[in-house]
């Protein structure tokens, strides 16, 4: 069974490009456009990797992390994938249970794919 990735991202174009790239790597890609949808998808699919945007309508990334307990999903790597880069935000997200914080703008699709492979051990 192939590994799965959950992309929680409100920008349709970005959601789409990540899906294209990760699907091409053989991942089962689930998407959600806000935190609420994200929680549904997370509990339904328990992905190996979760990419979480911060700024989103309805429920943002921070609220998402507050509403779940990452320890309940030991099989999932939680990555905050955002264009908001400052030390305070990074520290806050790690405090809330995220495993890693990455800057979206600095990643090419291939780098993302490579990161996914490394993280999920494919």
């Amino acid at each position: 069974m192939s590994k799965s990735v959950l992309v929680i991202e409100d920008e349709t174009d970005l959601r789409e490009v990540y899906k294209i790239v990760l699907s091409a790597q053989g991942y089962e890609v689930y998407t959600a456009k806000n935190g609420v949808e994200g929680i549904k998808q997370l509990t339904a699919h328990r992905p190996a990797l979760l990419l979480l945007d911060l700024f989103m309508p309805i429920m943002d990334g921070k609220e998402f992390l507050r509403n779940i307990d990452v320890n309940d999903y030991s099989e999932t790597t939680f990555v905050v994938f955002t264009n908001l880069s400052n030390k305070e935000t990074e520290a806050e997200m790690l405090e809330l249970g995220a495993h890693k914080v990455m800057l979206k703008a600095s990643m090419t699709p291939q780098q993302l794919a490579q990161f996914a492979n490394e993280t999920t051990g494919v």
């Binding site: 920008e11 174009d13 970005l14 490009v17 990540y18 294209i20 790239v21 091409a24 700024f55 955002t82 264009n83 908001l84 880069s85 400052n86 030390k87 305070e88 935000t89 979206k104 703008a105 600095s106 090419t108 699709p109 291939q110």
Partner: protein, 696 residues
């Protein structure tokens, strides 16, 4: 020594010797602080003559000033006052109290109160105990059995006891105001009897005559009483039967004035001249029991046929007088209390136009001559208006003046006082003068002002922090918003370049790469701007300082540029004074500093040149220098290379990309580390940047 506050006084802690006491005499007021009571009154002479040395008070010459003041004050008072001084309550009293004491006077002077009045020893023991504990006591119509004249006597009194503060701010005596009310109590009882009699009476004449509050009496031209109304019965204590037909003068006029009355009436009958007819006059009247009381009288003449009758309307004004007395009483208490505790004592003319006297006690300049310029002399210009309006109000209402205001101190500084003054009234209720006291509240006010300043500064700081925080949040959000579309562009161009949409031609690849690189530049600029904004608000910029090896960090920075240097055929000569040099720094930021210096050295040097990098320990500091053999920087440009967005024009600037922010960051980061950066450069020969960082 007046004040209780130790911060101003010179001698505070001395409580022992008399010699120490006599030295600390504050500026004196003419009247109250002197120890010669002689010319003040009968009691003044007695007090002066008394051998106080045999009591614990000691000789008068060595009395504390507070005691002298209170004694002087007593001697001036029309109220019966007795001071019970010290823990034994040695008695010192004034003339009115001597009258009250009857046969016990003058033995009471200098006597312990408990022994002076053995019949009420327990009562007085309690008074002393409470008074010295700082409590005021007040009894209205208190009846005690006193042996004033060798026989028991029920004496009714209004008694007021106030603690009197000594030199050290502790009660050292009790001031008693003893107003005998026995006569009044008797009169009150009689009035009640008369009222009862009146209620029984069936002989009511006209409603007005019977129920009038004023006494109405009518006499004929021989001075014989013809009628009197119930109010007159109540007022004077005579029944109608007793009074009618008797001569009015002998009934209700005090013996002293009876002849005058008879003469006045006879004179009027014969000459028709009168000074008192149809006028409101205040005189003294006498009750059946011989007691004298003040009344207001109006006499009108009524002619019935040949008969000439005179009707007098009389109003008892002893209540009015009592009210005035009450005021005097409270004024006396006020004086007694403030005189010992206030910093400034003053007296003012009735309308405050003239200051009659001021005892400033070192806080304000003294005034012993009447002074009409006191307002400008003592009061801060900004407070003169509020003072005048408070005065106006107090004068109009004859009530206490109270105000906190700024004053010009004797030493020329600005101070604050809490000032209050009471009107001193004559028997008719007119203001004779104002007696005032003011406390020096400069220190309290200053403390208050300091506190308010501190609050204001804190608020300002909080507001600034809020603005700064809002700015940071805005920058963070703006950079995020700018990045999102550029990120999307980056991802899609990348998809195309990687044949996700099918194979592309070499020319398509070239164009897409150009688009991709420019998009990358935009992303870099956004990142640079964000970094700059964060460094700008450097107080919000958090360094993550830890112990690191500076030599190792420089090696890493050089390694990162290896490809760039090779591409430009440039070499780096690296040396270090020690194998490793530890320093407490933010490694990420310091590496950024090194990277910028290396990048600049490379960019502004021609291909094939050499750069020298050295890290050397200098005690508790470390110097890091990056030198190149590049284009150099002119003297003028050296001044501004560290400024934001500065790009210096030179032969290589066309080929060099940049935002002009690199050296600005370098300087900011170095300064955040409490370090410094220097530049030496010669145009056409090269530049050398040296960063000096503290190691701790």
């Amino acid at each position: 020594m007046w004040r209780n506050q130790p911060h101003r006084g010179e001698i505070v802690s001395v409580k022992g010797t008399d010699s120490a006491r006599s030295k600390k005499v504050a500026p004196q007021i003419a009247d109250y602080s002197c120890r010669n009571f002689f010319n003040r009154s009968e009691m003044g002479k007695r007090i002066t003559a008394f051998n106080w040395a045999k009591t614990s008070l000691g000789p008068i010459s060595e009395w504390p000033q507070s005691l002298s003041i209170i004694v002087n004050f007593m001697l001036d008072s029309p109220l019966p006052l007795v001071l019970l001084w010290g823990k034994d309550g040695y008695m010192i009293y004034n003339d009115p109290y001597a009258d009250f004491a009857g046969g016990r006077h003058p033995m009471l002077l200098g006597e312990k109160v408990v022994e002076g009045w053995p019949e009420v020893a327990d009562f007085n023991r309690n008074i002393m105990k409470q008074g010295l504990a700082g409590k005021s006591l007040s009894y209205k119509d208190q009846t005690l059995t006193l042996y004033r004249n060798g026989k028991p006597e029920e004496v009714s009194m209004n008694l007021n006891y106030s603690p009197v503060m000594g030199e050290y701010g502790k009660p050292e005596g009790v001031m008693a105001i003893v107003v005998e009310t026995t006569e009044r109590v008797v009169a009150e009882q009689q009035r009640q009897h008369a009222e009862a009699a009146y209620r029984d009476s069936e002989k009511q004449k006209t409603v007005f005559f019977e129920t009038a509050l004023d006494a109405i009496l009518t006499m004929d031209e021989r001075g014989k009483l013809i009628t009197l109304n119930p109010a007159a019965v109540r007022m004077f204590g005579y029944s109608r039967e007793d009074a009618i037909g008797k001569e009015l003068a002998s009934l209700i006029i005090p013996p002293k004035y009876q002849e005058k009355h008879r003469h006045g009436l006879t004179s009027y009958i014969h000459t028709g001249k009168s000074h008192i007819l149809n006028q409101r006059i205040e005189i003294l009247a006498m009750r059946k029991d011989g007691s004298i009381f003040p009344v207001e009288l109006t006499i009108a003449e009524v002619k019935i046929g040949d008969q000439r009758l005179f009707t007098g309307t009389i109003q008892d004004i002893s209540e009015r007088s009592r009210a005035a007395e009450k005021l005097r009483e409270s004024e006396a208490r006020f004086r007694a209390l403030v005189t010992t505790s206030a910093d400034v004592i003053y007296r003012m003319s009735p309308d405050w136009s003239e200051m009659r006297q001021l005892d400033g006690r070192g806080f304000l300049a003294n005034t012993s001559e009447p002074d009409r310029n006191w307002l400008s002399k003592y009061i801060h210009p900004n407070d003169q208006g509020s003072i005048l309006s408070s005065i106006r109000k107090a004068v109009e209402t004859k009530s206490v003046f109270k105000l906190e205001h700024r004053v010009l101190q004797a030493d020329g500084n600005l101070g604050w006082t809490y000032s209050r003054a009471v009107p001193i009234l004559d028997a008719k209720g007119n203001i004779i003068e104002w007696f005032g006291a003011a406390s020096d509240i400069t220190e309290e006010k200053r403390a208050q002002e300091e506190q308010q300043k501190l609050i204001a500064i804190t608020e300002q700081r909080n507001a600034l922090l809020k603005v700064s925080k809002a700015k940071d949040e805005f920058i963070a959000l703006a950079s995020h918003q700018l990045r999102t579309p550029a990120t999307t562009v980056k991802q899609y161009i990348n998809l195309l370049l990687n044949d996700f949409a099918g194979p592309i031609s070499p020319l398509q690849t070239k164009y897409l790469q150009t688009a991709y690189e420019n998009n990358e530049r935009e992303l870099n600029i956004i990142t640079d701007l964000l970094k700059t904004a964060q460094l700008d608000s450097s107080n919000a910029y958090q360094l993550n300082k830890q112990s690191h090896d500076i030599v190792a960090i420089m090696r890493e920075a050089i390694a990162d540029f290896k490809a760039t240097f090779e591409q430009r055929h440039q070499t780096v000569a690296f040396s270090a004074s020690h194998k490793s040099i530890g320093a407490t720094i933010d490694a990420t930021e310091i590496k950024l500093v090194f990277a910028n210096l290396l990048e600049n050295a490379s960019k502004y040097s021609h291909a094939g040149t050499e750069m020298k990098v050295r890290v050397s320990r200098r005690g508790d500091q470390v110097d890091v220098s990056v030198a190149d053999k590049g284009v150099g920087i002119s003297k003028e440009d050296q001044q501004r290379v560290f400024d934001k967005f500065t790009r210096v024009d030179n032969e290589l600037s066309d080929t060099v990309n940049g935002t002009g922010l690199g050296l600005y960051w370098v300087k900011q980061i170095v300064q955040l580390h409490n370090g410094s950066i220097t530049l030496t450069s010669t145009l056409g020969k090269g530049s050398k940047f040296t960063v000096r960082l503290p190691r701790e």
